[in-house]
Amino acid sequence: MVVGLIDYKAGNLGSVENALARLGAATRIVDRPERLAGLDRAIFPGVGEARAAMEALRERGLDRALAALSRSATPLLGICIGCQVLLGRSEERDTECLGIIAGTSRRFPPAPGLKIPQIGWNQVYHRGRHALFRGIPDGASFYFDHSYYPEPASAEAWVAETDYGVRFASALARGSVVAVQFHPEKSGRWGLALLANFLAWRAEAS
């Protein structure tokens, strides 16, 4: 099993790499489209901000490669910014994104007593069943660190939800593409369990 890690800028892939190593998966850094060939699945991690991420993807031609990958049966997992840019648009510097899952990333509205960014552990509640959450209790804690949240256009894409002033989609899916707003690579045992589920997942092309 070889997992591609999408590298679109001096981003920190180390944490995801370490978690996959713990799970016994080999990784390959994908910094140009050709390196996607022959992979079993791919992870699109991310920290930082949406516009810079999109610019870096376009520069490397990875935007089109990811769109093509999303139409195949090869599973793709987006994490945090990697989740947000899979949507059509982000309110962060009004950025046009990949549009692989229809929807928008929105900034948390200000609310008394709620800090922005949301930093820390929050519960993830399942909506329906998805292989990504197999064996993971409903309401298990995952680590979040974000100021924007994904809002899918269709309820069908909405796999799990979390409450932070608003109820937002903390996990999304469409065909062979899944995306999580939290950081599974930093979410202890349940995060590792989710990554293991992703590695075992047999997706169908959308």
């Binding site: 001096a10 920190n12 180390g14 944490s15 370490n18 978690a19 190593a21 713990r22 920290v47 930082g48 901000e49 200000p110 800090k115 922005i116 960014p117 949301q118 930093i119 820390g120 552990w121 929050n122 519960q123 209790p137 298990a140 804690s141 680590y143 979040f144 660190d145 974000h146 100021s147 409450d163 932070y164 950081h183 690579e185 930093k186 979410s187 202890g188 045992r189 349940w190 995060g191 590792l192």
Partner: protein, 256 residues
């Protein structure tokens, strides 16, 4: 609901975890990588490493520790101490830390916060601030640097706000008056900074008893509480701290 975090702090000197009072009289208490792994398994929500090694040539030791910690623990951790340039930040983040913390160097050169946030995102840049009670300052607290030894002309609240506007994504707020006393966090200081700022505040300095942690997370409005001696010296375990908080209605992560 977002839970309150229990953050374990490890001071590292020459590759060993060390513990001192008011930054003095340090004694070695163990291997930082092994300790990090033990706290991870006990359910610590986050870890903080401060490199208090004085000389520059030992920096490589810390990077090696960060790399080994990142291979073994799967919760976030930050690294601080002697971070003076964006390149120092990059080295720590590439070695596997989620966040990097700047303190004295940010007072001397506030642009490091701005540059760090632009390069790595605000979520990666933490301001460490040491505050000393001082009635002559507008907020009642003065910023001190270099482990509390050197006074600055900065007001604690004004500096925290400035750091936030420069892009710091979180503040670790240490009370120099309370640090090492084990008589409780500075509730007044924590509440003021946490209420006035939009970014999360991690309270530090003074934890000795379980009710200290409860108070700073409720009355003090802290988003997270930093503990060191309380757990290093074996007085309390993370599960004991979290069990106590849960019993008093404070939301904490228990499913680790």
């Amino acid at each position: 609901m977002l839970t309150k975090r229990i953050v374990v702090c490890l001071d590292v000197r020459d590759g060993k975890t060390t513990k001192g009072v008011k930054f003095e009289h340090n004694v070695d208490i163990g291997d930082p990588v092994e300790m990090a792994e033990a706290y991870y398994e006990q359910g610590a929500d986050e870890l903080v490493f401060y490199d208090i090694t004085a000389s520059a040539e030992r920096r490589g030791i810390m990077i090696d520790i960060v790399r080994r910690v990142a291979e073994r623990i799967f919760v976030p951790f930050s690294v601080g101490g002697g971070i003076a340039k964006v390149d120092d930040m990059r080295a720590v983040l590439l070695a596997g830390a989620e966040k990097v913390s700047v303190n004295s160097q940010a007072v001397r050169n506030p642009r490091i916060i701005e540059e760090g946030a632009a390069q790595f995102g605000s979520q990666a840049v933490v301001l460490g601030m040491d505050a000393l009670r001082d009635p002559s300052m507008p907020s009642g607290y003065r910023v001190v640097v270099d482990g509390g030894r050197v006074r600055t002309e900065l007001d604690a609240l004004a500096w925290a706000k400035r750091a936030e506007s420069l892009g710091a994504g979180e503040i670790v707020l240490n009370s120099i008056d309370a640090d090492g006393t084990r008589e409780g966090y500075d509730i007044e200081l924590t509440r003021m900074i946490s209420t006035e700022l939009a970014v999360p505040v991690v309270a530090s300095g003074g934890a000795g008893r379980l009710d200290h942690i409860e108070r700073v997370l409720t009355e003090g409005r802290a988003d997270a509480a930093l503990v060191a001696s309380m757990v290093h010296l074996g007085s309390f375990t993370i599960p004991e701290i979290k069990g106590y908080l849960r019993d008093r209605g404070v939301a904490v992560r228990l499913d680790y």
